[in-house]
């Protein structure tokens, strides 16, 4: 599989003049994310943040243009064949399967698992801090714990790109920061490339990241998050941050 060929290394992501029609809105994306970096995507709702991730993950197919991951053309590849794991805001887990099985599906889509698989699964569950909760069903977990399971599954899948689609948006501030720190640690350890869509600009500051600001289906501004979110950032972005900016 693609993933196992390049373990513990990030892949570059490139969208090359990608056009996509979202209902009436014509979207256009041109972007490069360097291997083993973190990219944060912010912008008003409906600006195309989730669509951008869906194009990379293969849930949406570009009308024209190319999607390259690790310099390989993935424009039309099926989601399961892309070197990508994605964590959604909710519904990351199958409600009728326990934690270990939900993570195990990352190893084998028919849940036929080898000894090595079981070991990897336990290790991933331990890494996200859920050791001892392997047999729990999702209903017996808190919101944060459920997202940890999804991250553990991404770990056992061992793909070089991790996409977070507002994965922590439904968590409280403290828990969100905790999860971001966990992602930061795992990113440092595995070197995977992370792209995250977020509503909170300070998420981008918590981890050293590149910031992409989306508006009306286009990337309106991009650059290192620290610069972009400072007083010297683009006027466009300061306007979007608005009240928050003046409160700071």
């Amino acid at each position: 599989m693609i993933a196992s060929a390049r373990p513990h290394k990030g892949a570059s992501i490139r969208l090359d003049a990608v056009d996509f029609d979202f209902g009436d809105m014509a979207m256009h994306f041109d972007l490069v994310v360097e291997p083993s970096t973190i990219a944060a995507i912010i912008g008003p709702s409906g600006s195309g943040k989730s669509t951008l991730l869906n194009l990379i993950a293969g849930f949406e197919i570009a009308k024209t243009g190319r999607v390259l991951i690790d310099d390989t053309d993935m424009t039309d590849a099926a989601p399961a064949l892309r070197p990508v794991s994605m964590v959604f805001q909710d519904n990351n887990l199958f409600a009728h399967l326990d934690v270990a099985s939900n993570v195990g599906l990352g190893r084998s889509p028919n849940l036929k698992l080898s000894e090595a698989d079981h070991a990897a699964i336990s290790e991933a569950i331990r890494k996200v801090g859920l050791a001892g909760k392997e047999k729990r069903k999702p209903e017996a977990l808190s919101g944060g714990e459920r997202q940890r399971v999804a991250i553990a599954r991404a770990l056992v899948r061992n793909r070089p790109v991790l996409l977070l689609d507002e994965a922590f948006a439904s968590l409280g501030p403290a828990l969100r920061h905790e999860m971001l720190d966990l992602v930061g640690e795992l990113q440092t350890e595995t070197g995977m490339t992370v792209m995250m869509v977020t509503h909170h600009p300070d998420d981008a500051l918590r981890l050293p990241s590149m910031l992409f600001f989306l508006e009306n289906g286009k990337i309106a501004a991009s650059g290192p998050a620290k610069e972009m979110l400072s007083d010297k950032g683009p006027a466009l972005l300061r306007k979007y941050l608005g009240a928050k900016d003046s409160a700071l």
């Binding site: 993950a57 293969g58 994605m86 959604f88 519904n91 990351n92 009728h96 599906l105 889509p109």
Partner: protein, 539 residues
Amino acid sequence: MAAVRSLKPLAGALALAFLVVLAGGALLSLATEALRGSTEGFAAFDSYLWQIARFTLLQALLSMVLSVTLAIPLAHALHAHPAFPGRAMILRLFALPLALPALVAVLGITTIYGRNGLLAAVLKAAGFDVTPNIYGLTGILIAHVFFNLPLATRLMLSSLDSIPEDYWKLSSQLGMGGWARFRLIEWPVILRNLSGIAGLIFMLCITSFTIVLTLGGGPRATTLEVAIYQSLHFDFDIARAVSLTLLQLCLTIAVLLLLSRTGRPAEEAFSLNTVTQRFDRPSSGAKFAHGMLILAALIFVGLPIAGTVVSGLAADLSRILTEPLVWRAILTSLILGAGAAAFSLVVSLGLVMAREYLATARRYAPRSAFERALDLGASLIMVVPPIVIGAGWFILSRHFVDPFSLAPIMVVSVNAAMAIPFAFRILRPSWDTAASRHNRLCSQLGIAGWNRFRLIDWPVIKRPLGAAFAFAMALSLGDLGTIALFGNNSIQTLPYLLLQRMASYRTEDAAGLALILGLLCLGLMIVADRGASSLEKIR
């Protein structure tokens, strides 16, 4: 997602093919027959035929008007008294007629209003010298109201329950009286659903077979469905059967077109209604009137059910249950019922899976003709009534085989088709919700095909499947229409045997059999109801 090929559209196409062949074959047979014997067939549109058509419409209209007008005050009374003693029990009782096979209910009704019924006994004891005669329009109306008054009441009650609590708070604050509340708050909601409820009941009464067959009084009180059955089963008058069937089909389609303009009643949940807090204090006069109304309805619905049980228990059950013929009928009913239920689930699941797959794949594009056909297919049986399908295949098959030898196939196919609209409605929400949660995840993790069905879909769909199976089997078990047409001495279901015993005036046997049949259907309905209401909770 687009790259993964799926067998789901094929499953949907096969399901649709079954329905099209079933209905299309019958219609084709009727059309050729009508063209072949055209002069004879259309000459049959004589005054007798028109009389039957008129009576069909008249009895349906009267049944509908009676059910709906009685249901309005009854629903109001039940809604106004959330704490009425035994209210939950009453609502549960009101769900019973729906679960009861028509034949069982007819027997129950005769134990009360019949020549030797409770009413006759009471009248005699009071010194009146009248013998009630329920055969004819009176009996048909009593039976139709027995079935449809509770249905209309439950539908109206659930629309009343949809009124936001704030309205009641507000009306209480503004000091509205009972009449003002009814006029300003309840009536508009009832009115919105009235045409749908009335249309549904009208439709049910137009296609009512068993009740008219058993309670109709000869040629003066007969409907198209019963006339079709008689002309095929007794007179073997094909030309007449063809013209009757075509007339029935036109009538059904006309009513459906009318219905599509009025809209459907709000979907009623399987579970019991919740109790709304109304923040008012009805006057003691209103309380009394409401109480009497509820009590009267309780007696009207409860007595025939009690009658079934009492006369069934009075029958010599131990002897009935030693008859090999009875056991064979029970076994035949169970096998055919299970077959019909399994078949209806396979077809419904095929339709549900295919339409969800297509809906997901097309994204924002408009629905394709195929997807629309899948939706329509689920309710095909509403347009082409079972008796039309039965009659069509009966007429067609006689050129090739003895129609009566087709009994098992026809009972399973037609009963399966009858259950499809219900099975589709039980399965689709569960399937669609699960699919919307799981599709992206499965395509990312590469879970597809058999793996997906085994690991992901089956655990989600097995409960709704169980509920739909029980429902479909109960429906098939109680159905008399198709077996009445095709039944014979070598293949008899429980309702068929029951009908024979009634026809030969073996009343006691019939009462015992009715109790057995009623309990079987009721048991299955309870299973279905439990299953479906536990789904509501999960969702």
